[in-house]
């Protein structure tokens, strides 16, 4: 599933943390889409271009279109090759391209963009970019756009992270145990239940993705035998269980309010000699069976 992340399109959020970094996964996915022949645009904001291109062979490096916002983020040098509008302007310029074909945009990183731009503007821009193929009426059919965003979870509060994950089509959270990295992939399809899956993987030195099985079961710390749940019926002074004979007796018992067919017949069948209904009453020990009407004493 990890290798088919980009086929769904939309925004793919890579959430990493200090222990499990995500840039290598980002580079692996970028390499994969470059090898598939898609157009790849990179918005580099957090690391320098040389550092990002390190590890890629020249074939892939030639296919990547790199927009550098690391060296001069505020455009102080005022050179012509700086794109107007900053990173968002670059995003919109990529969207306005005329040639069809699938495009992958890698944002390195979304955390940098969140810290420099208002969150709402970023969300609106990402939504406009990733949903461009859904709008009809265009003269030229625009290909599928995938946006890969690297988000460092610890830098942001729950607000921006929640807002971005509600926009994202796929969310990959990196984690792992004991040297093995895992990716928890949550895939939200528009009107269906979200599916989630955990995939163990490792990145090889040439940034290709190696999918693996999980670590061996014995080494997992949570596989202890369960403490059996407390049985509340053990130390009671009365017996709550029913033996087989008792259960049969219980099932065959006719309950007083049970509306069985015999009772129905008994009610429907007219009793001989009785036209009115009857009240059956057995006097209690406390009852006073005085036949006198207490209202007789009243003098009106």
């Amino acid at each position: 599933m990890l290798d088919s992340l980009l086929s769904l399109g939309g925004l793919v959020l890579l959430r990493d943390s200090v222990e499990w970094e995500g840039r290598s996964l980002l580079k692996a996915l970028v390499k994969k889409s470059a090898l598939c022949g898609e157009q790849v645009h990179i918005l580099g904001c957090e690391v320098s271009e040389e550092e990002f291109r390190e590890g890629f062979d020249s074939d892939i490096n030639n296919r990547l279109v790199y927009h550098d916002f690391f060296r001069d983020p505020l455009n102080w040098s005022k050179t012509e090759e700086a794109l107007p509008g900053g990173p968002l302007g670059a995003l919109r310029a990529i969207c306005k391209r005329t040639d069809p074909g699938p495009v992958t945009i890698a944002l390195d990183s979304l955390s940098w963009l969140l810290l420099h731009l208002p969150c709402t503007t970023l969300c609106q821009a990402l939504h406009a970019v990733s949903h461009q193929d859904a709008c009809p009426g265009d003269s030229s059919p625009v290909g599928k756009v995938s946006v890969l965003g690297l988000l460092h979870e610890e830098l942001h509060g729950p607000g921006p992270v929640g807002a971005l994950s509600s926009l994202a089509q796929t969310e990959v959270t990196l984690g792992g145990t004991k040297g093995q990295a895992s990716a928890h992939i949550l895939c939200r399809r528009p009107r269906q239940r979200p599916t989630d899956q955990t995939q163990w993987f490792s990145i090889l030195p040439d940034f290709s993705l190696d999918l693996q099985e999980g670590p061996s079961v014995e080494s997992q710390p949570y596989s202890d035998p369960h403490i059996p749940p407390v049985d509340p019926t053990t130390h009671l002074t009365f017996n709550l269980h029913l033996s087989k004979k008792e259960r049969e007796a219980k099932d065959s018992l006719i309950l007083p309010f049970q509306f069985s067919s015999e009772k129905q017949q008994a009610l429907l069948r007219p009793r001989p000699g009785q036209a009115t209904s009857h009240i059956f009453y057995e006097p209690d020990a406390y009852d006073d069976l005085d036949q006198e009407d207490p209202d007789d004493d009243l003098d009106i």
């Binding site: 731009l117 208002p118 821009a125 309950l255």
Partner: protein, 475 residues
């Protein structure tokens, strides 16, 4: 008439003149002649607009929300001039369905629609509306769909609590008036000709607002300002507020706003706890309610409240809306594995019902409502229906009240449950032997006390002898 004449003479000559004038007619009240329906009279007669009906409780004009079960829970329907706020579930799967049922109901009844969204194009939203079940054939397969899932349980007839089978179910599948409240098939799309025959207006935020990076410091976000202006224009131009006299029959405007408060509308309450525009949403709701109260319109808003960081904003938003419903889906939560909820997809919480021209509101006393989305149907049921159907034990009414409490320590299998049941049974068997002789039903209250119905054991030593409560110590 003679009495009038004598009073009139006492008051003066004018009084007697009136009295003599009124003598010629039998009565001064004249009956209005029967008018043809459809004429625009502003008289005391109720204007009948298609798809609306007056509430039986307070006379408010109601429209259907698109789900007859939800109408029943809200006291008949949604009142015109009010806002229905739906708090979205976490993955936004079920709230769009309620939104679309509301809009589809508007199309079926011929109301005008106004759809506003920042996420999807309103034309696309309208294409995905569910198809109404109008003819009898589809009604039959609807009934089968509902009853099919009930047959395995209904074969096990309830032996002890059989009186609960006489309680009405939540869904009134019986005769549904064809003019109010329709059923929708969630798996089919609405026919294209119905959409084309309807009158609708769309508001898609990315088109209406130019993409500028700077955000003007203003009390309302520009997106909200534009939406309010749009709604106001439509209300004014099409005469929903009575300003332009409508030549045709009066109609209702149904407004649907999707994902209000999300960052796509330019509002940062989901991103930050104390943003710069934290009053933007509340001001929007206030102005919107003012627009709605002065026009023949009803509004549905879905809001991702689980993303809002500042909880006081949620409380303010709830107060500013009229009817508030929360959806909580079980996906990803631990309730998914709870056997009590195994047939359901989520819970519905009715958080607020308005008091319109009333001192009290129509709060239903059923608190545990759950919904499920079958392939075709969206049904809302009381969770205890499921529980009673299984009928594992004899539950006194007070005990089931304890079970209904959320996160109750009295759950099944707990120690409190078993000891209580045993002690109750010990008392109840002695008790039940006396009650057998009275064949009148007992009124059972929620606290567990069984009040005896009127019986011959009254007036013993001057006071009514009551049955001892279950939790009380008998003297």
């Amino acid at each position: 008439m003679a009495a009038v004449a004598t009073c009139g003479s006492g008051a003066g000559t004018t009084g007697s003149a009136v009295a003599t004038a009124s003598k010629s007619n039998v009565t001064s009240f004249q009956r209005r002649g029967p008018r043809a329906s459809g004429t625009n009279d502003s008289g005391p007669r109720l204007v009948s607009i298609a798809g609306t009906r007056p509430s039986v409780r307070n006379g408010q004009l109601l429209v259907s929300t698109g789900l007859p079960a939800l109408d029943q829970l809200l006291g008949g329907g949604l009142a015109i001039g009010t806002v229905l706020l739906i708090e979205e579930d976490k993955y936004n799967i079920y709230s769009p369905l309620l939104f679309k049922c509301f809009l589809a109901e508007g199309i079926v009844n011929g109301h005008t629609l106004l759809v506003a969204s920042a996420k999807e194009d309103p034309a696309n939203i309208l294409q995905e509306l569910p198809a109404p079940l109008l003819d009898d054939n589809s009604k039959k397969e609807f009934d089968e769909d509902v009853y099919n899932h009930k047959t395995p349980e209904s074969n096990i007839k309830m032996k002890i609590a059989w009186r609960y089978q006489l309680l009405p179910k939540m869904e009134q599948i019986g005769p549904v008036s064809s003019r109010f409240g329709h059923y929708y098939d969630a798996s089919k799309r609405i026919p294209q000709e119905l959409i084309e025959a309807s009158n609708w207006h769309g508001f898609f935020l990315p088109e209406k607002i130019s993409s500028t990076l700077k955000v003007e410091p203003c009390s309302l976000t520009p997106g909200y300002i534009k939406l309010l202006q749009f709604i106001q224009n439509i209300i004014y131009e099409e005469g929903f507020d009575g300003s332009n006299p409508q030549k045709k029959q009066r109609n209702v405007l149904r407004i649907g706003i999707q994902n209000l408060g999300s960052p796509l509308w330019g509002d940062d309450i989901c991103c930050a706890e104390n943003g710069s525009n934290s009053h933007s949403l509340t001001k929007f709701l206030y102005v919107l309610r003012g627009l709605l109260r002065t026009s023949l319109s009803a509004c549905i808003i879905t809001m991702p409240t689980h993303l809002i960081q500042n909880k006081t904003i949620i409380a303010r938003v709830t107060n500013l809306s009229d009817t508030v419903i929360g959806l909580e889906s079980f996906i990803g939560s631990e309730r998914e594995t709870n056997p009590l909820y195994k047939d359901y997809h989520g819970l519905i919480h009715i958080r607020q019902i308005p008091r319109l021209n009333n001192l009290i509101c129509d709060e239903s006393d059923v608190k545990d409502l759950a919904f499920k989305l079958k392939r075709k149907l969206f049904t809302i049921e009381w969770v205890q229906d499921n529980y009673l159907r299984q009928e594992r034990n004899i539950y006194p009414p007070g005990f089931s009240y304890l079970l209904k409490q959320k996160d109750s320590a009295w759950g099944e299998g707990s120690l409190q449950h078993s000891t209580f049941l045993m002690s109750f049974l010990a008392k109840a068997t002695a008790f039940a032997s006396r009650l057998v002789r009275h064949s009148e039903p007992l009124k059972q209250t929620g606290s567990g006390r069984i009040h005896q119905a009127a019986g011959p054991r009254l007036w013993h030593d001057g006071r009514r002898q009551e049955a001892p409560g279950l939790l009380g110590i008998p003297p």
